[in-house]
Symmetry: C2
Subunit: 430 residues, 2 copies
């Protein structure tokens, strides 16, 4: 029997999935192991940065008033009374016509109100004392990095859910996070189904292809920030798939299967969800590729049935599973980052379904963003996935799209994200 399915809109499908979003727990990891993890708590400055007034240059700390009459013909001579290296604090106060030699990063000594760079002075020895000749006036506060100018104590610097990159890590070190609060990633189980699937190390035989979805999805899960648990591949057999899905359900936070979701006799995911008493959230979406993407929920835990076609599987993951993972990781921007780009291609035929075309963006010399599809635009294609860095969105409707049209793009390799899903943000921007 052919099951009748009514397609829902992509935005509605996203909304139904995100009703089941959950926040992950916090764990602490060594700062050396925090790269690319997601910050579990906001990072607030617990002290001023810099923590004291300091010199950004090698030079001399002086009183600006002493330099007021300096000219190149008639330099002012100041006596050097101390020398402070980085990390040191001078016990002396800079008095009238005095200077203290200061290194980059060292604290400005008492009495001084500006720094004269080393390159701008001439040193002279006289009667066992050292003097510097200054040839122009300096202003109060010249060449001083002030306490708190970079960050003030109590200032929120980084929100939770941000992926830790080199700059964030530098801040963590600055504020003494030897242990960093990060979010425990969701464990995402993956099972590929299909009697046509060979293992990656098997020779091709007629009618069969190697399983690529399992590896692809594992890589997508890791890119999204999840932890992968693979359950291998299953032939198209309800009992063995059911057993594997039940095991994955017990051991994982999210379960993904690929294949078995179409409307044919051998597409048994609906049957499995029935047997598990999972509530099916949708099984048909007005999108291409991936219209047969299925989502179900059981006791608050999500089960995704992605298409067995590589491109459809890929897109289904990015649109529906990724935001759930990013939200789990405390991100306030769990959706793919959006942009607008000028289409450099023709899609003359209208399509009632919204299309997500594997594409690449180009940054033009004119400051504009351009986008081109890569490879064949078919759901069962695999090569174009390797070349794409974005999905071009061609909304379903009555018209085609042509060269020069401004279209939406969703960035795949970006970690910034968007606060709202593409369709919602279109509504709110109108």
């Amino acid at each position: 029997m052919v099951e009748r399915r009514s397609p829902i809109k992509v935005g509605e499908a996203v909304r139904r999935v995100m009703e089941w979003k959950q926040l992950g727990e916090i764990e602490y990891v060594d700062i050396d192991a925090c790269d690319r993890r997601f910050l579990g708590k906001p990072l607030v400055a617990d002290h001023d940065v810099p923590p004291f007034d300091r010199s950004p240059y090698d030079g001399f700390a002086v009183r600006s008033e002493d330099t007021a009459d300096a000219t190149s013909d008639s330099p002012v001579f100041l006596e050097v009374i101390d020398e402070i290296g980085a990390g040191q604090v001078s016990p002396f106060r800079v008095g009238k016509m005095e200077a203290i030699r200061i290194m980059t990063g060292a604290a400005i000594p008492e009495g001084a109100d500006c720094v004269v760079m080393l390159e701008l002075v001439h040193e002279e020895k006289k009667d066992g004392k050292t003097f510097i000749a200054i040839k122009r006036p300096f202003q109060k506060h010249d060449n001083i990095s002030f306490k708190g100018e970079d960050a003030k104590k109590g200032q929120p610097l980084i929100e939770e859910g941000i992926q830790i990159n080199p700059g964030v890590k530098a801040l963590l070190a600055t504020f003494g996070y030897a242990k960093v609060p990060v979010v425990k990633p969701p464990v995402v189980g993956v099972l590929a189904t299909g009697s046509e699937l060979l293992n990656v190390d098997e020779e091709l035989v007629p009618g069969k292809i190697r399983n690529s979805n399992l590896y692809m999805i594992a890589s997508q899960i890791e890119r999204a920030g999840g932890k992968v648990k693979t359950y291998g591949q299953c032939a198209d057999d309800v009992d063995s798939v059911l057993n594997a899905v039940k095991t994955a359900y017990k051991e994982c936070d999210i379960v993904i299967t690929t294949g078995g979701v179409s409307v044919g006799d051998f597409d048994y995911l609906p049957e499995i969800y029935r047997q598990m008493k999972a509530e099916v959230l949708f099984n048909k979406i007005a999108m291409r590729p991936g219209s047969v993407t299925t989502a179900a929920v059981l006791n608050g835990k999500m089960l995704f049935g992605l298409s067995g076609n590589p491109s459809a599987c890929y897109v289904g993951f990015e649109l529906y599973v990724r935001p759930l993972i990013r939200y789990w990781l405390h991100s306030s921007k769990p959706y793919l980052r959006q942009g607008k780009a000028f289409l450099q291609s023709e899609f003359p035929k209208a399509n009632p379904f919204s299309r997500f075309v594997r594409s690449r963006v180009f940054y033009g010399e004119d400051g504009k963003l351009h986008v081109k599809p890569v490879g064949l635009d078919k759901s069962n294609v695999v090569t174009s996935l390797a070349w794409s860095d974005c999905l071009m969105v061609l909304p379903g409707g009555t018209r085609g799209f042509g060269s020069g049209d401004l279209v939406d793009v969703l960035f795949l390799e970006d970690n910034t994200g968007s606060e709202s899903w593409w369709e919602e943000s279109k509504r709110s921007s109108k």
Copy 2:
């Protein structure tokens, strides 16, 4: 004594570093461990994809000529003589007025030249036989994914030096790469110097700050694709730094120190390079931040002396060390990816040095790229690094820059890269 240094142009500094570029060796890793590694050999299709003509849908394989007269009022009835699941090959040939039930991904049987989707037919049983009613004509080749339409045997698909992402991994699986040739990353040694540096777990004391550069650079090395080896932090003391640098030189492919590169008394990197008999390639660059960035070479191995100031250190790494690492990883685009964006800020003062301003890009609703600086634009600032996703380039010269100006940006979180360095590509585009 103040050393006199003549600044060289950024492009010249990049050129001098890249004269010492080296290609890394290949190693094989399990496909499960290849994520984010760099492909060591080009990926060439070793078979057609798909490997056989197949059905993209669940449906029936038929002969188009048999459907020529089909209408909804007068459907054509074809006898279903076999059923093939995915991975199966039918032993039968589709003859006149016959059909074979076919699942998504299964091989098109002999005799058939098109596929009718399951949803479009009506099945009927009669005398123990199954028939389908077809209500409109189909054309030869309708709904067939042809052998080789995605990729032809022998077609080069991915060049070496590409970072493996989910799409590339899917291709690797498709072509049976159970073991994947990747490039052994360069081992990059890092040592932070400066008597002002506290460990990340130490309490602040007057005059001192916590070491953030070591953690930041380690994270930058990993993002670039290198392998980090840290040598901790050293006080400003020639002998102890010399020993640490010598050890790192023996154990690593590239050595980075931070701090000790300015022109002051305690800036001893020049002395260390002299003692090691390393050839200094430059010690002053016409850029901000990072003008004191130093590079030296000894027996073909690079030693970098980056600034102790976080922003200067960060920029120095991205401009000079990153391309060396990416080239090592066989990338043909080792430089930061470039774009043009509209400035949303004012930099009224001209600067003789080229400025690399920590910034963020925004994708406008108008299809244009916009860029804004983040935080304070000073070399010793650390907070802005956490917020930036690009460096805005303001070339040195006689004019300032204002809102709406089209400026260059270098993307920090992108993995595409550029073939040529920013200044070279400006020349070639003129």
